[in-house]
């Protein structure tokens, strides 16, 4: 694979490739739409051809030939190993913890990786901005073996505390998941356009553990709404290979998606 330089890719492409790498060795992935779906499909087209993609529309083991435009895109059913009802996908497949990784996006995410996709503003009845809501995210965050969040960094999206907890990360810190009876391990990685954040093993606080090539620590920290800690073992994210970029662009190119 020819090496590439940061001039050769966009920050979004780096984010999707880094997210796809997070699925290496994973058997099954419950895929949210948008960035997670792009990364999951990239993983299946590159290093993880047998990755089982599960969508909340009830498709098990889909092998879409193009990037699905929604979690219920017909291509998911046509290429699925099995299509089950929506109640079954949540009750028989997600709830018992059969799915290794839940792959989520976020409108807002906080220091303890709690996710808000419900309302911006602190008054639920009179929100500043009404967001789409929970969808499948709360139970994906609760029941998958682990959760990976893919979200672009901005002061608006990375906040000290989310306005509304739609999906639980680590609550207010260690022990909360157990207290809530959540059986999955919770968010293991938050992959952004700047780098990778992971919960501190002791405090559960999201910490910068990897910088994407060409990004400085200052750049990574400036768009975070809390005093982001940097891991002593900070690494640099492996750059996308030319092959990965080719596959990714094939997936996201509008022509490829018709």
């Amino acid at each position: 694979m020819t090496p590439t330089g940061s001039a050769d890719w966009t920050a979004d492409e780096m984010m999707s490739v880094a997210a796809s790498h997070a699925l290496a060795g994973v058997t099954s992935c419950f895929v949210g739409i948008g960035l997670p779906s792009t990364a999951a499909n990239l993983a299946r087209r590159t290093h993880s051809p047998d990755l089982v993609l599960v969508y909340e529309s009830g498709t098990l083991g889909s092998r879409p030939t193009r990037l699905p435009l929604s979690i219920g895109d017909g291509i998911l059913a046509e290429t699925a190993e099995a299509v089950v009802s929506v109640p079954e996908i949540f009750n028989y497949w997600l709830q018992p913890g059969r799915i290794d990784v839940g792959f989520l996006g976020a409108a807002q995410i906080d220091r303890f990786a709690n996710i808000n996709t419900t309302v911006i503003g602190h008054d639920y009845a009179e929100p500043k901005v009404r967001l789409p809501g929970a969808g499948g995210a709360p139970e994906i965050a609760a029941s998958c073996g682990e959760v990976i969040v893919v979200v672009r960094q901005s002061a608006r999206s990375f906040v000290e505390r989310v306005d509304f907890v739609t999906s639980v990360g680590y609550g207010r810190g260690p022990g909360d998941r157990e207290r809530f009876g959540l059986r999955g391990r919770g968010p293991s990685r938050v992959i952004t356009d700047k780098g990778i954040l992971e919960p501190d093993p002791a405090t559960c606080e999201l910490t910068l553990t990897s910088l994407h090539p060409g990004v400085t620590v200052a750049e990574a920290r400036e768009s975070i709404g809390w005093d982001l800690r940097v891991s002593p073992d900070l690494t640099t994210t492996p750059p996308p290979t030319a092959d990965e970029l080719t596959v990714l662009r094939g997936l996201t190119d509008p022509e490829g998606s018709r």
């Binding site: 739409i33 909340e56 529309s57 009830g58 498709t59 435009l69 929604s70 979690i71 219920g72 895109d73 017909g74 998911l76 059913a77 046509e78 299509v83 089950v84 009802s85 929506v86 109640p87 949540f90 009750n91 997600l94 709830q95 419900t118 639920y124 009179e126 929100p127 901005v129 009404r130 967001l131 789409p132 809501g133 929970a134 969808g135 499948g136 995210a137 709360p138 139970e139 609760a142 029941s143 509304f164 907890v165 739609t166 999906s167 639980v168 609550g171 909360d176 998941r177 207290r179 809530f180 009876g181 959540l182 059986r183």
Partner: protein
Amino acid sequence: MADIVSLADGVRELVHDGDVVALEGFTHLIPFAAGREIIRAGLRDLTLVRMTPDVIYDQLIGAGCARKLVFSWGGNPGVGSLHRFRDAVQNSWPVPLEIEEHSHAGMANRYVAGASGLPFAVLRGYTGTDLAAQTPTIKPITCPFTGETLTAVPALNPDVSVIHAQRADRNGTVQLWGIAGVQKEAVLAAKRSLVTVEEIVEDLEPVPGQVILPSWAVTAVAEVPGGARPSYAQGYYERDNDAYQAWDAIGRDRETFSRWLTELLGVEEPA
């Protein structure tokens, strides 16, 4: 046995002001034509139930048909926000919209309980989220064997559920395939049901992955070719993604939406 009716008659006979109405179809087979017919019928004060109130409910809400929305995800898939929904929630335009908000797992299980003749369903869900504090229809329940605390949600039993399917036979037996969502549960949970279909055929050739709704479990069937557009009907037509994109501009602005509505009210549904 189900009656074969026109869409207009089906809506006028089965849907009434103030009803709890579920129009289901999870991305696939969304009963858009029936939604437009409900707008034309001028129905008011509806409690609209739907896991994913996307463009179809943005239209109904903007038209002022709804008093309340029971849902789990309200967006324009792949595009963005539902501006009519937002305008109703944030600014009570054209009328105030009460909301009852759940997660997909909660809504799906509420339909299952409704279809099963049970007053509630049990799931692992909501714990630790802020939803439970806002939604009175989320309560804890204790396992009588293990003592473990889980979550209970009440059954959904709409006055009428409306879905779209690929086919029905002349007896009104309904066949759908592809992503089946929660349509079977929505119909079985409802007091009355209206199913629009792409075509009524002599014989329902079996299809892998098919869901069958026997005629005796359905109230009425209406033949409405293209009744799911701009969503898709597997085996019949693809999703019109441009229409979803276009809706963003229409829904974003009250005037533009009002012009869309005036035009809709002037045009009869082809049936």
